[in-house]
């Protein structure tokens, strides 16, 4: 792969943007019914939006298509298909609140509605600043969006702020309505479990918020029954305790694989749980019914630290994970776990993308690990953009959220932008594309939080830029996925 010369690339980008934004631009005017972004026939029009053309972009095997701003920068996106309209809508949450775009023209999202942070304020809040909603989860059947409120949002702190979830009804995407704010003693991210009948809310790092055990170093999983969103119920008992060599610590993310196993990632590793059906519990050594509130351990653990400098917290901070349920190269079906190890430090030592083997962890080993007798998964490989083509040498460079299509991982790396990594050979992850936006005159510098494969395109939730719409021009390795997992991937 060759990087395009910057100047030529910038010109090409500017031209492409000018052409492509013409479609989006037409949507702002009261155009004819055939206008690509005119959704009036489907229930509403479009709102003004801002498009920041990244003339400074550094890229390889990637075409920039569009950028949309909505209400702010974003930590996460998700998508819901509306059969009655025949296309998808994209939802993003960030400091500015919730933004909703029609993907009738998927290349040029049309902003159709929003709920601002000011509208999400609760009594006692001191700022109009939603925080943070990483790993956004949605219920595509009931058309619900869940905005996870971190206690650090709206002027709060980990010990004084209010955490929980806003449940937003998006049956009419032109008119999203907050059904309720439900307080939960957890709230950095949340994930739908069991077809969105339950919600697992997790994080943040420090305890100190009401309802936490003082011995916990971070907030584990809190389970909320959302069968009936008018009457959400959060269980008093938390899940995934003792995760860091026996100590209860910060769960940062929950990601459900294609077999319905919920993988809880955070400080101390990644551990999978059955949440439905009857399974053998390798910890209790008996078969029992798995539920969302009393799940059955499956497998998992953490891997050895790869940062030679070592940092007490980040060495074992497994930020999020993806369990590949397929066979890859010489590895067994379902053996591999793809992990983001977040580490906010100098670019040369920043957090990496890791691949681990679950072999040897199916008998509850990850639940019996102690500081004296630690259990660790086999590390297959680890990768970072440091020194790779198209990379920066300064700034924030850690690995962050990713999604997988076939054997291509599309991952956000803060200031290192979006990276496409071919994991066909899990022992040798290889960069096959990248897109990074340095700040420049009139160009908002990028900080990629999460990257989403979606119907042949790639959407990037960027903390600074809003959403970038990209096309990966490289060859898709492996069998393309029928269904991309964006956080919750129940069958």
């Amino acid at each position: 792969m060759k990087a395009k010369p910057l100047v030529a690339g910038a010109v090409a980008l500017a031209m492409a943007a000018a052409v492509q934004l013409g479609g989006a631009g037409a949507a702002f005017a009261a155009g004819p019914a055939s206008s690509p972004s005119d959704n009036s026939a489907h229930g509403g029009g479009v709102l003004d939006d801002v498009h920041n053309v990244p003339t400074t972009a550094v890229k390889g095997n990637v075409t920039f298509i569009d950028n949309v701003r909505g209400v702010s920068g974003y930590s996460a996106l998700n998508f819901i298909n509306y059969k009655k309209y025949g296309y998808d809508f994209m939802f993003a949450n960030g400091t500015g609140g919730l933004a909703v775009w029609s993907l009738k023209n998927p290349k040029h999202p049309a902003l159709v509605s929003k709920i601002t942070a000011a509208e999400l304020r609760l009594p006692g809040d001191t700022q109009d600043r939603f925080w943070e909603g990483e790993n956004m989860t949605v219920d595509p059947k009931r058309k619900l969006v869940f905005l996870t409120r971190d206690p650090r949002g709206f002027g709060g702190t980990v010990s004084t702020g209010q955490s929980g979830v806003y449940i937003v009804d998006v049956k009419n995407p032109w008119k999203p309505e907050v059904v309720t704010f439900h307080p939960i003693p957890a709230g950095h991210t949340a994930t739908c479990i069991n077809d969105c009948k339950y919600l697992w809310s997790v994080g943040p790092a420090n305890t100190g918020t009401p309802g936490q055990d003082p011995s916990w170093k971070g907030v584990p999983v809190r389970v909320t029954d959302i069968h009936d969103i008018k009457h959400p119920y959060t269980f008093d008992q938390a899940v995934d305790l003792g995760r860091h060599d026996g100590v209860t610590d910060y769960v940062h993310s929950v990601d459900v694989d294609k077999n319905g196993i919920a993988w809880a990632s955070g400080e101390g590793g990644v551990r999978g749980y059955w949440t439905q059906g009857r399974h053998y519990d390798p910890v209790l050594k008996r078969k029992r019914v798995a539920t969302a509130y009393d799940p059955v351990p499956y497998a998992g653990g953490t891997v050895v630290a790869t940062n030679p400098a070592g940092t007490e917290f980040f060495d074992f901070f497994d930020h999020n994970a993806y369990h590949n349920t397929e066979k890859v190269r010489g590895f067994d079906k379902g053996e591999l776990l793809y992990i983001t190890n977040e580490n906010i430090t100098t670019c040369s030592q920043a957090g990496e993308f890791k691949i681990a083997s679950l072999k040897g962890s199916y008998d509850g080993e990850g639940w019996r690990s102690t500081p004296e007798n630690p259990f660790r998964l086999d590390l297959i490989s680890h990768w970072s953009p440091w020194g790779k083509e198209g990379s920066a040498t300064t700034g924030s460079c850690s690995a962050h959220w990713f999604t997988v299509n076939g054997n291509i991982v599309a991952q956000g790396w803060y200031g290192q932008g979006t990276r496409f990594i071919d994991v066909s050979d899990p022992r040798n992850p290889t960069q096959v594309g990248y897109f990074r936006v340095p700040a420049g005159e009139g160009v908002t510098g990028g900080s990629a939080s999460a990257v989403y494969w979606h119907n042949g395109l790639v959407y990037v939730a960027d903390y600074n830029r809003g959403v970038d719409v990209l096309r990966f021009d490289g060859k898709l390795a492996g069998k393309p996925d029928d269904k991309i997992c964006w956080n919750s991937c129940d069958k």
Partner: protein, 386 residues
């Protein structure tokens, strides 16, 4: 002669004024250390059966509302005005409920609390709908009120469905693996057992459901024991519920036993005998079960020389909630008060935060789990995390 359903006006406002004045004299004031200077009145109505079989509960309800009014006045009233309580006998029928509400409307109440019987409460809510007068229904079961969809009525009791949720959630806490849901064939018991069964099935838990209206509980107990159930939930009447748990224990059943609120009765304890020990109950929270109500119970007892019942506690909370809504509205216009009821700020009842869903059902209900210990019902869990 006591006339069930008779409508009579009870002038308690003056008494409340006297009492609250006495309380006020004991408290401090922002202005000169005397009693709070309250200008004008805000009148709240109380609807309760004051005659007939439920007269005792009705009086309990009235007493709870009056205590709330007295304490509000002691704390400076509402919007700087004296809280006055007027009472109407709402009886237990639709006709008496409507009459009672009409009587309160004639007294220009800002809002009303009470409502003990469903028929009377629904009729009263509908009667008040025209004026939009807020009505916090403190004791009547919520289901029919919610079905009625009166925009100014807010039930402070939970629905049958919410009792089912309480049962299912407690089964979750007890890690139930195989559940037997039993009812006595009555429509109410069947409805609850059906709701519980459906929810358990949705979670993939093995569950069996059986109705029994016959006396052969020993046979039923044997069936349950053979099914290897580790959790039994009974939704029928109290006395057969007590006999059922006794029969189950005699048949060797060692798992959890829980009964619905129908069994919140001495009849259950008497029929079960020693077998009642450790049995669970889904029941609406009352002052005897709630440690958070202990201080209030003492204040109530000091004033009325008796223990408060649930109706008093509910009416006390309802009147305070109504007052809070008026405060937040900064006005007594019905529409503004109603608008504020679903978004009370920093307001809690004895069970926790008070919030209403869009359909006016309680977002967080007041069902708790009681457990028999030493022959009496004790609190096992509030089932609340707020």
């Amino acid at each position: 002669m006591r006339r069930r359903g008779a409508v009579r006006s009870v002038a308690l406002g003056a008494a409340a004024l006297v009492v609250s004045g006495l309380l006020g004299a004991c408290s401090g004031s922002d202005e000169g250390g005397g009693a709070p200077k309250l200008r004008g009145e805000i009148t709240f109505g109380v609807l309760a059966p004051l005659a007939g079989d439920l007269a005792e509960r009705g009086q309990d309800l009235v007493d709870g509302a009056q205590l709330a009014a007295a304490e509000l006045n002691d704390q400076g009233g509402v919007l700087g005005r004296q809280v006055k309580v007027v009472v109407e006998d709402g009886g237990c029928t639709s006709a008496t409920g409507e009459q009672g509400a009409t009587g309160l409307a004639a007294k220009k109440v800002v809002g009303m609390v009470g409502g003990l019987c469903e028929d009377a409460a629904v009729a009263a809510a509908k009667a008040m709908a025209a004026t939009g007068t807020p009505f916090l229904v403190s004791s009547a079961r919520a289901d029919r009120l919610i079905e009625a969809g009166v925009s100014s009525a807010f039930p402070m009791e939970a629905t049958v469905y919410q009792e089912a949720l309480a049962a299912v959630h407690w089964m979750a806490y007890r890690s139930a693996q195989q559940v037997a849901v039993l009812d006595d064939g009555s429509p109410a018991a069947q409805r609850l057992s059906g709701l519980v069964t459906d929810r358990l099935k949705a979670d993939g838990l093995p569950v069996s459901r059986q109705s029994t209206d016959g006396p052969d509980l020993a046979k039923l107990a044997g069936t349950v024991t053979a099914s290897k159930a580790d959790f039994v939930y009974w939704t029928g009447a109290a006395e057969p519920g007590g006999r059922l748990v006794s029969a189950l224990r005699q048949a060797g059943y060692t798992g959890n036993f829980m009964a619905s609120s129908e069994s919140d009765s001495p009849k259950f304890l008497q029929a079960a005998g020693e077998a009642a020990e450790d049995a669970f109950l889904t029941t609406a929270a009352g002052p005897k079960l709630l440690p958070t109500a202990a201080d209030w119970t003492a204040r109530f007892k000091d004033r009325y020389r008796r223990d408060p019942g649930r109706d008093a506690m509910q009416a006390y909370d309802a009147l305070r909630a109504l007052a809070q809504a008026v405060r937040q509205a900064g006005d007594t216009a019905p529409s503004k008060v109603v608008e504020n009821i679903p978004r009370l700020e920093d307001f809690t009842t004895f069970t926790g935060v008070l919030r209403f869903a869009a359909d006016h059902s309680l977002t967080y209900d007041n069902y708790v789990i009681a457990q028999v210990k030493g022959g009496t019902f004790t609190l096992a869990s509030k089932l609340r995390t707020d």
